[in-house]
């Protein structure tokens, strides 16, 4: 995968995803060492290009790069091209002239990483574009499920919340279905895109039906400031209808796990008592995020050392 852009799970084959997950499993061990650093990407430059603030994802990529000994530079930009009077093409050319070895991009508008990737020589990793995709999040979710359940094939995964505006939902839908899981989505009708089933999932507006027999229940963060009054009448009503708590979780499998991409609105999409302990695996997700991002950086920006698994057909 050297040099390849990671723009979305939609573009990844099952083999690609499995290679990334296996590589991440090998990276996990590095985080447990006394000296949490390997020289794999020494002398390489990684740019974290964030047009939208995201402390968690940015920090995770930064730690991942540093554990691989890359020089990590954070490049934060606020506002759109239009307000800056600089085009995306200008931004891409400017970065390209600095000769990075990988560029991680976060933007509030779908498709921006794709346009930058057309110009940038270095591989681009999409760290979240609008309501489109967030591939590293979905990959770390798959890594966590694999770790917890030992497999993904044949599992039932239910994603609950604002599916319409969620890049996490889209990437997880592509990823889990590609690895053979059954994916269901649930939320109020105002948060379910009318064409969502064209992505190969079943949509539910009844939470109980959606989580009946599920192995994994994933709650999405609600953008309360933006959506209250527009997509749901009140936080209280949302929490009562779609907020996960122990009571509602009874309908899932006994050993079901609860996931959340963070940060959690406690008492809204996830009851306080569910957020901290099993069945919640939220902190495992965060931990796995670093290993997963190390794997991505290694696969696209590294040179394969001797004995490393060979890259896929592409």
């Amino acid at each position: 995968m050297i040099g390849r852009d990671i723009l979305g799970i939609e573009d990844l084959s099952r083999d690609d995803i499995e290679l990334i997950l296996e590589t991440a499993e090998r990276m996990q061990e590095i985080g447990n060492r006394e000296v949490k650093k390997v020289p794999t990407l020494r002398g390489r430059t990684l740019i974290n290009l964030f047009f939208e603030p995201s402390t968690r994802t940015q920090t995770s990529f930064e730690i991942a790069g540093k554990r691989l000994a890359a020089d990590v530079v954070n490049f934060s930009v606020s506002g759109s091209s239009v307000t800056k009077r600089e085009t995306l093409l200008d931004t891409a050319k400017t970065l390209d002239a600095m000769d990075p070895d990988a560029v991680v991009v976060r933007h509030k508008v779908a498709g921006v990483p794709h346009r930058l990737a057309e110009v940038l020589e270095a591989p681009v990793i999409n760290a979240g574009d609008g309501a489109h995709e967030h591939p590293s999040q979905a990959l770390l979710d798959m890594l966590t499920v694999k770790e917890q359940k030992g497999r993904i094939e044949g599992l039932t995964v239910t994603i609950v919340g604002d599916i319409a505006h969620s890049r996490v939902a889209r990437s997880n839908i592509y990823g889990f279905t590609r690895l053979g899981a059954e994916v269901r989505v649930a939320g109020p009708p105002t948060m379910l895109p009318s064409a969502i089933e064209s992505l190969g999932v079943k949509a539910y507006t009844n939470l109980r039906e959606a989580i009946e027999g599920a192995d994994v229940v994933m709650a999405l963060r609600i953008q309360m400031e933006r959506l209250e009054g527009a997509c749901f009448p009140s936080v209280r009503e949302y929490a009562a209808t779609f907020g996960l708590d122990r009571e509602k979780l009874r309908f899932a499998k006994e050993d079901a796990i609860v996931m959340h991409p963070g940060p959690v609105n406690r008492g809204v999409e996830l009851a306080h008592e569910l957020a901290d302990h099993r069945p919640s695996v939220i902190l495992d997700q965060v931990r796995n995020g670093v290993a997963l991002r190390m794997a991505l950086l290694y696969l696209v920006a590294g040179r394969p050392p001797k004995g490393a698994p060979r890259e896929g057909a592409r």
Binding site: S80, L89, H107, A110, G130, P193, S194, I196
Partner: protein, 431 residues
């Protein structure tokens, strides 16, 4: 060049229901003869064997950007792009800066066009002052100054009471009201057709129903006022059905479709190419098929370009930030010839929708090769294969999804009032 004989072309004149191999004689800017074996005495002769000879096209919907946004287009560049696309008359929308809501702006446009544009420019004036949807414009004065229709175009009049009065009053001015039918609340932030593609791309969807509720509203208002409503760039199957029914009920409604809505689907946006961002958005294959059906039936009677130039730096931004619109004048003919090759339309019916119908809609002379008519004539080579390169075209802008595409069929030459204003190659050779 007082006399020109266009010899042996396939003459397509919808106004005469004529499709025949004939000679066409132009004299002193007017059509002087149409028939077989016309004398070439004293005339320059153009050999038109294999070509179509048609009345100049009339574009009922273009944005020529002058005054105010001359960095995108002006009446010279837009007028030259028009004749290169076979358009001898172009109606230009009112969203200039200042807005064409005052007779002085209308007169300014006509004055500049007279000097700069090889095509005849026909200003469309705003229906309300400042395109604000509140106070109607001085339609009588605007009409007298030369406005051919009234429209707030993309700034759709959302107040149905205002729209009703605009339609009523337009009858006094004797010109149609053109609606860009889109309910801005239903559209919201939508930038691509709402459906599987918007779901996949994660871009805000603009649903078909945003167009259909406005079309339904304005058809009812046209029915009760008896005014002439023209629906711009119809894009959905539902809107075609609504217009078909209103026609049957006798409502005075005409409608246009653009080359892009007739041939591209929302799948063209995969890859986030901002040149595919248009308003209304590119729709599904089902909608495209319904538009083609409506065009063939005559429910949609006009093909209009919605030529909307934007500077490249304005389009090289986030998809949601890119201004909507694409170029159209120089590619329209080649793009819609696909419909003839698919046998959805005969060449004569295609020319009717490009020329005769839009001229009639706007109350203009034109769209006819009858003896005595002004010699606005286009020669088309329907088999010509060419590659479109916007940087070699006449428009100042380059925002076209057909950039680099190989197209079939193009305009070989264009005459306005008997004067050769465009030729693709020197083959037509007139001096």
């Amino acid at each position: 060049m007082a006399r020109v004989l266009i010899r042996g072309g396939r003459v397509l004149d919808p106004s005469l229901d004529l499709d025949d191999t004939l000679d066409l004689l132009i004299e002193d800017g007017r059509i002087a003869g149409l028939g077989r074996g016309l004398s070439d005495d004293g005339a320059e002769v153009v050999d038109a064997a294999g070509a179509w000879v048609a009345p100049g096209f009339v574009d009922a919907h273009a944005h020529l950007r002058e005054p105010g946004q001359e960095y995108k287009e002006d009446l010279a560049s837009g007028g030259n792009a028009a004749v290169a696309g076979g358009f001898t008359q172009v109606a230009c929308m009112a969203n200039t800066d200042p807005v064409n809501d005052d007779p002085s702006v209308t007169m300014y446009i006509l004055d500049r066009a007279e000097k700069d544009s090889p095509a005849r420019i026909r200003p469309i004036a705003a229906a309300t002052r400042g395109l604000k949807g509140q106070v109607m414009t001085e339609m009588m004065a605007l009409r007298e100054a030369g406005a051919v229709a009234f429209s707030d175009d993309g700034a759709t009049i959302m107040d149905a009471g205002v729209m009703r009065r605009v339609l009523q009053y337009s009858k006094l001015a004797g010109a149609p009201v053109i609606v860009h039918a889109e309910d801005c609340h239903l559209r919201g932030a939508g930038v691509v057709n709402e459906g599987p593609v918007s779901t996949r791309l994660g871009l805000p969807g603009n649903p078909c129903v945003a167009e259909e509720v406005l079309v339904a509203r304005d058809l009812r208002l046209a029915a009760i006022t008896g005014a002439h409503l023209h629906v711009a760039h119809v894009s959905t199957a539902g809107a075609v059905a609504l217009i078909r029914r209103a026609r049957e009920e006798g409502v005075r409604v005409t409608a246009e479709a653009t080359p892009h809505h007739l041939t591209l689907t929302d799948e063209a946006t995969t890859g986030y190419d901002t040149s595919t961002r248009v308003a209304p958005p590119l729709r599904s294959a089902r909608d495209v098929d319904a538009l083609r059906q409506g065009l063939a039936e005559g429910v949609i009677d006009v093909i209009a370009t919605d030529h909307a130039p934007h500077a490249s730096y304005e389009k090289e931004v986030e998809f949601t930030e890119a201004p909507p619109g694409m170029l159209g004048l120089e590619t329209a003919l080649a793009v819609v010839l696909e419909l003839v090759r698919e046998v959805r339309l005969t060449p004569l019916e295609l020319i009717r929708r490009l020329s005769t119908n839009p001229a009639r809609l706007l109350g203009l002379e034109g769209g006819s090769l009858a003896v005595g008519a002004s010699a606005d004539v286009v020669l088309v080579d329907p088999e010509r294969v060419w590659t479109y390169d916007p940087s070699l075209g006449f428009s100042k802008s380059r925002n076209s999804p057909w950039a680099g595409a190989t197209l079939t069929g193009r305009v070989a030459a264009t005459f306005v009032a008997g004067r050769l204003v465009y030729q693709y190659e020197r083959g037509v050779s007139l001096r």
